[in-house]
């Protein structure tokens, strides 16, 4: 089977019924989509399939054969952050960060289809995503800042000297 993942053609060896989440994480070592529940209940595994947000944990490989898959790794050009990433950074929309990739991918899909999305539309789009840390306040603020154009410009990726260890 083959997929196009973040613009790269990939020949996939996993079984046809393997979840897209496991294909990404375990075969391709793309780890931003997270296994929060593998029951479709939390949204942490959300990726874009041909631009549409999908729960990768519930999506068998066979169902997306040949599709274009976009993960968080594919949003940035490697130097500059995408606007949604910059907004999450600036608005402190991540605490532990585990739900963040799914939140950002779902938000990206919304903002692509509905560029000036209202606060209500944002909340509806993210209704199926659970965050246990932030209380959602700064997540909604971040997405709203991109939707209403008040977010800071995407900047050089080296906005902070710190990094994960």
């Amino acid at each position: 089977m083959h997929l196009v993942v973040n613009g790269v053609e990939e020949e996939i060896r996993s079984d046809a019924l393997t979840s897209l989440l496991r294909v990404l994480r375990e075969e391709l070592h793309i780890t931003s989509p997270k296994a929060g529940c593998e029951q479709g209940g939390c949204g942490a595994c959300t990726v874009l399939v041909d631009g549409e947000p999908r729960r990768a944990c519930l999506t068998p490989l066979a169902a997306v054969e040949g599709s274009e898959i976009t993960t968080l790794e594919g949003l940035s050009d490697g130097v500059n952050l995408a606007p949604i990433q910059q907004a999450f950074y600036d608005k402190y929309a991540s605490q532990c960060g585990f739900c963040s990739p799914g939140m950002m991918m779902a938000s990206t899909a919304l903002l692509t289809s509905t560029p000036g999305a209202s606060r209500e539309q944002i909340m509806e789009a993210l209704e199926g995503h659970i965050c246990r840390c932030t209380g959602y306040v700064k997540i909604i603020d971040a997405v709203e800042s991109v939707a209403n154009g008040s977010a800071g410009a995407a900047s050089n990726g080296a906005v902070a000297q710190g990094g994960s260890r």
Binding site: C37, Q39, G41, C42, Y92, S94, Q95, C96, G97, F98, M123, E124, L126, E127, G128, H129, I130, R132, C133, T134, G135, Y136, V137, K138, I140, A160, Q161, G162, R165
Partner: protein
């Protein structure tokens, strides 16, 4: 019909593991180019300890925040931290990194003093520059000092720190004990709307004020207040590992079966940070992490009573429980029993009514 109500709760919470005996340690070294490496053990669960500790080190050492590396990644390089719980990360973990940074600063000024031929007591550090007090044009950068240490004096600029509150055993009869450091406080006001036909309680707004002593990073404090608000909403209205406790029936094994607070439940959340500094916390800080979900539940129950006149002395206040309380009220069965000056609520669940060996408990709670 829908009814609105408001409820208040005020709480307090200690800092550090109860009864003490929970050390945190840290060590700091400065690279030859002046970058600072901190090795601490406080695990970051998302609350932001890496950030807060870096801020503490930056100001204690006098270097820019961006020049500090915070490494909590493994137990070979990091010394001991008892753990991230009991609201000890900012206070106890913070004191450990602060003390380590202070020691490193002393060493740095000692080296700078040698290099500049000035007594260390006449030197200070700010924004990565060591300067002579009163003559700030006489200076060396931290990088130059560290290079001098490395290549000139054969020294390493480092500092270690640790904080431990001695373990305190309580008196078994009285409970006399010295169990903790500073005490944090909070108050929470909740506005709800109760549907008296479905029992559904909707939280419209939460206003919360937290005394955190001193907010090392105010945005991270807000993060705890906001996160705690939703978790508290969950405790108050939604979450139950045993929905029919003490029965084990109906346990939810997935999100959706176990109800988590989400955007459909999202109220208006307003946060106020109060600063009543602690005597001995780092920069006067107290704590917030653990207490952040304690006030909302009882505030919601108070608001339910304000709205529809019933008490739900359980968590969560599910629609079923609210409806049962409304039904009891309608039939007159919901009133507490009055016995002289004593007003007794919730007799149906009390051990005085239920437990066979209630004499053991009667001495304790008989009224």
């Amino acid at each position: 019909m829908k009814h609105r109500g408001r409820g208040l709760a005020a709480i307090e919470y200690p800092t550090g593991m109860n009864q003490g005996g929970d050390p945190s340690q840290a060590w700091v070294k400065i690279k030859p180019d002046g970058r600072v490496d901190v090795f601490a053990g406080t695990v970051d669960l998302g609350q932001g300890s890496k950030t807060v500790h870096t801020q503490i080190v930056a100001d204690t050492l006098g270097v820019p925040y961006e020049t500090v590396n915070m490494d909590v990644s493994n137990t070979d390089s990091s010394p001991l931290c008892t753990g991230t719980f009991a609201s000890r990360g900012t206070f106890i973990g913070g004191l450990a990194v602060l003390k380590a940074a202070k020691k490193a600063k002393e060493k740095m000024l000692e080296i700078a003093g040698q290099a500049m031929e000035i007594a260390p007591a006449d030197l200070d550090v700010e924004d990565g520059v060591v300067f002579v007090k009163g003559s700030p044009d006489k200076k060396m950068t931290v990088g130059e000092v560290s290079a001098a240490a490395t290549w000139g004096f054969g020294e390493l600029i480092t500092g270690t720190g640790a904080h431990l509150k001695a373990y305190s055993m309580p008196d078994p009869d009285t409970g006399v004990c010295d169990p903790d450091h500073a005490i944090s406080y909070a108050a929470c006001v909740v506005d709800v709307e109760v549907d008296d036909e479905t029992g559904t309680v909707t939280v419209l707004s939460m206003v919360q004020a937290y005394d955190v002593g001193h907010a090392i990073n105010p945005t991270l404090v807000e993060g705890q207040i906001e996160g705690g608000a939703m978790m508290g909403l969950g405790l108050g209205l939604l979450e139950a590992s045993y929905p029919h406790y003490p029965s084990t029936e109906g346990r939810g094994g997935e999100f959706g079966a176990y109800l988590m607070p989400g955007l459909p439940d999202f109220p208006e959340i307003t946060s106020v940070i109060v600063e009543n500094p602690s005597a001995d916390g780092p920069f006067g800080a107290k704590a917030i992490g653990e207490m952040a979900n304690n006030a909302q539940g009882p505030a919601i129950c108070a608001a339910i009573h304000d709205a529809v006149g019933v008490w739900v002395p359980q968590q969560p206040a599910t629609p079923e429980r609210v409806l049962r309380a409304l039904h009891a009220k309608a039939t007159g069965a919901g009133e507490p029993r009055r016995d002289g000056k004593t007003v007794i609520f919730d007799e149906d669940v009390s051990v005085m009514t239920l437990a066979d060996e209630s004499s053991v408990f009667r001495d304790v709670i008989g009224v």
